[in-house]
């Protein structure tokens, strides 16, 4: 929270409005020069020219989905497995396999800042909770390995969360949600400023009773601040700061290894971005950010079974932080070539006496150099070639190249083929964990002791894609066939003490597609299917993603402006993230949402009713936890 307040105080001066004396229209308006605004780096690639499959969840879709957080929203993206459990800090989302209780093989970026948590074995769960849903402009999900552009953690994909520009959120807005399962969400936002400086402050809370059977009473509290400053026509400065607190109940009743208890995760960040346009075809951007995380989780463990009438504290608490400085240069050379290149230095620090048996900080320094070129070989042929060279002070050098060719076979018809290679260096925990239990200075047990021999795991991904747009049918198809060959998969070993090792090589292969269809006016139908085959020799990993998942979503505007959403998901047998290979379940879930737009004077709003999981409860995260029907009502107003 401190970051936000300090920044606001700092910005209290606001900036001077450009005193523009209104003049009369003259030929000067027609003949005068204008600053370049949509310079090269501000123009995103078209979806049929990106080096990989991209699903975009925009603001409208986010609202219509009725989802209360990003992880739940990702159910709508082909290839994703999600959970709503807070057992491992925050709800999880993974692509092509939830291989364990954390999700560490995809990257999550919030306005360009990595929100991947380096704590434990690495996770994107808490990062997905960084900002209020109301502040999100869109979520770009880059399905497929993307390390050539986003570094090692983008091994299987990237979730790119883009928050709304402060110009678009001026005024006040508030929302209240209440319903079954103790759902109590509240959110308030204020946006202010003038032409050359606009600001936003959002405070929100998301709370519910969690999964049935869990020790659920989860509360997420957030505060986020963003400022967009235009000191002159060529420079743009953005400042962001915020904090996140997750208070969650965890554990299972009558389970001495995992008893009922409270856990806390807190994080804070500050980010400064500066972009200068060097002309129509060239600009540079610098980004500086700092993130801090704290985790608290402790419970008493009775020593009576060992014949000692006492107990010890078992703990997972600690803290992590990272600092990142990156520089990026984007330019266009003629009509055919567009290049983004740059570098990044990142320093990560993890401190946890309970996890590493030392008070010392484990520091990992990354330096990255990357270049990605979009080369228009012919009018209908685009080659995306890129690579990232990454040096880690702990695990050495890695090189992640990618080649992708997009061929516009005909108007609206694109074929895509490509290969890429990526690495994920082991996390601090996988490399150095050393969990020991002491009583009165006596070593009782060594739970985990990493040998440190683990090497980076790698993936070689090959894909074929097709994008078809049939405007006369109101239809749009996105198909991705993939073969992701993983080598040296890092897995926890069933040894005493526990260790991590490069365990096996296996392939994740399959096909996923998304069909978007507008069958009639004011409607949108989406149909997704994903076939996944994981040929791991480990039974749990082999079903880390279901063989088949299907989902169908209908958004329909009804008379009177009423918005109807119906979402149905059918997911085949899968290993639950928080369980072992014997706990495999299938699930179906149907959600309904009705939204009534409101208008009173200059104020607008919406009253929405959402019912999640209309059908029977399904098992989520653990066979002991169930997602039961949840109905809730949201009232949102803004001016």
């Amino acid at each position: 929270m401190n970051y936000s307040f300090r920044l606001i105080a700092l910005l209290g001066w606001t900036s001077l409005a450009a005193a523009q004396t209104p003049e009369s229209v003259s030929e000067k308006d027609f003949l005068g020069d204008m600053p370049i605004v949509l310079s090269v780096s501000r123009l995103p690639q078209r979806l049929d020219e990106t080096p990989g499959a991209v699903t975009i969840l925009d603001r409208n879709m986010i609202r219509l989905s009725g989802a209360r957080d990003v992880a739940d929203l990702l159910r709508l993206v082909p290839g994703f497995q999600t959970s709503t459990s807070f057992e491992t800090v925050a709800p999880l989302a993974s692509y092509h396999g939830g291989f364990d209780s954390y999700s560490n093989r995809i990257q999550v970026l919030i306005d360009g800042r990595s929100a991947y948590s380096p704590y434990f074995i690495g996770s994107i769960g808490p990062g997905l909770q960084t900002v209020a849903l109301e502040d999100i402009e869109r979520i770009e999900v880059l399905r497929g390995s993307n390390s050539a552009a986003y570094g090692a953690r983008a091994m299987l994909g990237v979730i790119n969360i883009v928050t709304r520009h402060t110009v678009d959120t001026l005024g006040q807005q508030a929302a209240l949600t209440g319903g079954e399962n103790g759902i109590r969400d509240s959110q308030a936002r204020i946006g202010w400023g003038k032409e050359d400086a606009t600001y936003r402050l959002t405070v929100d809370r998301r709370a519910d009773g969690g999964l049935v059977g869990s020790n659920g009473h989860n509360q997420i509290s957030r505060i986020n601040f963003r400022a967009d400053l235009h000191p002159n026509v060529t420079d743009e400065i953005q400042l962001r700061a915020g904090s996140l607190e997750i208070d969650a109940g965890k554990g299972k009743p009558l389970n001495i290894d995992d008893p009922l208890r409270e856990s806390f995760f807190g994080s804070g960040y500050a980010q400064l971005d500066w972009r200068r346009s060097l002309g129509e075809d060239e600009d540079v951007a610098v980004s500086l950010s700092h993130t801090e995380e704290t985790y608290r989780d402790t419970f008493p463990y009775s020593l009576i079974p060992l014949g000692i009438n006492d107990s010890i504290n078992i703990e997972g608490s600690g803290r992590a932080s990272n600092d990142t400085l990156s520089l990026q240069h984007t330019f266009r050379h003629g009509e055919a070539l567009r290049v983004v290149w740059g570098g990044e230095v990142r320093r990560e620090e993890v401190v946890s006496k309970p996890l590493y048996n030392t008070d010392a900080a484990f520091v990992t320094e990354f330096s990255r150099l990357f270049a990605n070129a979009e080369w228009r070989l012919a009018r209908d042929l685009v080659l995306n070639a890129g690579s990232m060279f990454e040096h880690s002070s702990v695990s050495g050098d890695s090189f992640a190249p990618r080649l992708m060719l997009n061929w516009h076979v005909a108007q609206g018809q694109t074929l895509r083929a490509g290969v890429s290679k990526a690495f994920r260096p082991p996390s601090t925990f996988e490399q150095y964990s050393n969990i020991r239990y002491f009583w009165n200075g006596h070593l009782l047990a060594v739970n985990t002791q990493a040998s440190g021999k683990v090497q980076p795991e790698s993936v070689r991904a090959r894909e074929l894609g097709y994008l078809g747009d049939f405007p006369w049918l109101g239809l749009n198809l996105d198909v991705r066939a993939f073969h992701e060959q993983i080598s040296g998969f890092i897995r926890q070993q069933n040894t005493t003490p526990r260790d991590y090792a490069n365990d096996e090589d296996f392939a994740i292969q399959g096909l996923e597609y998304q069909l978007k269809w507008q069958p009639w006016r004011d409607s949108q139908l989406m149909f997704n299917q994903t076939y996944t085959d994981i040929n791991s020799s480990d039974q749990g990993s082999a079903l880390a993603a279901p063989k088949l998942t299907s989902s169908i979503t209908l958004f329909q505007k009804l008379p009177g402006g009423l918005d109807l959403s119906l979402m149905h998901q059918d997911s085949g047998t899968v290993t639950l993230q928080g369980a072992n290979f014997r706990d495999q379940v299938a699930m179906t879930r149907t959600d309904l949402r009705l939204g009534l737009p409101l208008r009173f004077g200059p104020n607008r709003g919406e009253l929405a009713l959402v019912v999640q999981n209309l059908g029977v409860p399904y098992q989520d995260f653990s066979p002991h936890f169930q997602f039961q029907r949840r109905a809730f009502v949201t009232l949102r107003v803004e001016n």
Binding site: V25, S26, E27, F30, P35, V37, L38, D168, K194
Partner: protein
Amino acid sequence: MRLRFLLFSLWLAVFAGACAHAAVAVVIVSSERSPAYVEAAEALVSELERGGLSRYDMLQLTALEWAAAGPLAPKLFIALGTEAASALAKSELRAPVLSTLLPRSSFERVLRKSGRKSSSQFSALYLDQPLSRQLELIRLALPTARRVGVLWGPESQAQAPALKTLAQASGLDLIEATVGHDELLFSSLKSVLEDADLLLAVADPQLYNSSSIQNILLASFRAKVPLVAFSPAYVRAGALLALHVTPTQIGLQAATIARGVLLGKALSANPIYSLDFSVTVNEHVARSLGLTLDADALRARLRSREGLL
């Protein structure tokens, strides 16, 4: 230093010319000597030369020089720009005056301030493009767009009724918002962008200027609502396309009119819009929005719609 010498020689040449040709046929008064005015004047002069007039039959002055110049009795005065038109409007002249390289509202302001009415003695060739042509271009370039967003400011509001009528006739809906004096345009822009398929910019310096353009273009791009603008500078900045007339095109048409006057034809009492025009497209923006637009083809189709080809 070199520039000053050049300007001095130019002035000398003009001065000498003025003395030597007290009875020139055409006097061209430019508001200033910046590139656009020079380009229009050059096109005008060369086209008249091509038609048989000698350079010595033409006299070029700036509005400032005009104020200091002695009596002249040409057959036609041509004003390039608002300041020049205003200077000529204040003078008692025997010959007709054609004002050009100025938009319609500037010409109308000149008329109001000088108490004149447009007539065959004081007429204009406008720099801005007729609204009907702009709507036709929108229909050609963005055939699926139905809702045209427009922001009106104090200077542009007068055109609102005309655009409404034209839009209705073309089957287009207008999504309008008015920005009052000293009002921030954010909320109006936001409401227009929410419902419109495109934003049609109508020149108004209170709304569209070099400090506001950044927010307008970024907000419209985020909303995937392309900006259809009135000058190529906006296209370079990031507008999807613009309909405009180049100073050369204005100069050429002004020369055609001037030739008619020299041959004894009267100026059209009603001011006219340019016959020729240009279409400029920002291909990068178009590509990013998933559009394929060919500026030359659009211009050709628009011209053929108007029976110009």
